[in-house]
Amino acid sequence: MNTATPPWADVVTAVLVVAGGLAALIGSFGLLRGKTFFQRVHPPSLVATGATWGLTLATAIQSSVVTARPYVHAFLIPVFIALTAPITTVLLTRAALFRARRRGATDVPPPPGGPPPPTPQ
């Protein structure tokens, strides 16, 4: 099976794929390396943006060149991830802040107005 793709398409796809893989690796390494939870929240967004967009652009370019027609429904994945990743992050950060206040941690800001919630016993 020898589908002859032009060299520029292979080069662009290879660059995008390598950049996407490195972005995923750096983001996950940051997840492993952060010291507190609020430092660890940030790096996975690199996976959700850089890696997902790079690999999807590579898929779209390569499939468009191979089938000689625009392949646009690959962009469903990064659009969906871009819509849903902030929701998960905000929910998780609010849950972490809530649980830290319930635990009585002193390194989080106090709630705006009102006494702090009682510690559960």
Binding site: A14, V17, G21, S28, F37, V47, T59, I77, F80, R99
Partner: protein, 92 residues
């Protein structure tokens, strides 16, 4: 497929596998529940990207639907777990 693209795809699969292992380590050693939910969120995105890369490597379009389904169900499950943590109904 040119050898350049094949090696680039194999490199990306290796990077994504290492990234999945990092997320799995954080899932196991995460000190609190929210760390584990965050690691799971990163883990399913990495697995979905492995499937996208394999679909590019094997030139098959049926990997795309699997990746889309993983993105959908991963969002539902991780947001459900985050909501559960937010309600504070965990018995500690």
């Amino acid at each position: 497929m040119s050898p350049l693209l094949t090696w680039a795809l194999l490199f990306a699969v290796g990077c994504l596998t290492l990234a999945t292992i990092f997320a799995l380590v954080r899932l196991m050693v995460g000190p609190r529940a929210e760390d584990r939910v965050l690691a799971f969120d990163c883990l399913y995105v990495n697995s979905m990207l492995i499937i996208v890369t394999l679909g590019l490597l094997y030139r098959s379009s049926s990997y795309f639907e699997a990746a889309l389904l993983i993105a959908l169900f991963g969002f539902v499950s991780s947001s459900a777990m985050a909501k559960f943590l937010l309600r504070g109904e965990i018995i500690e």
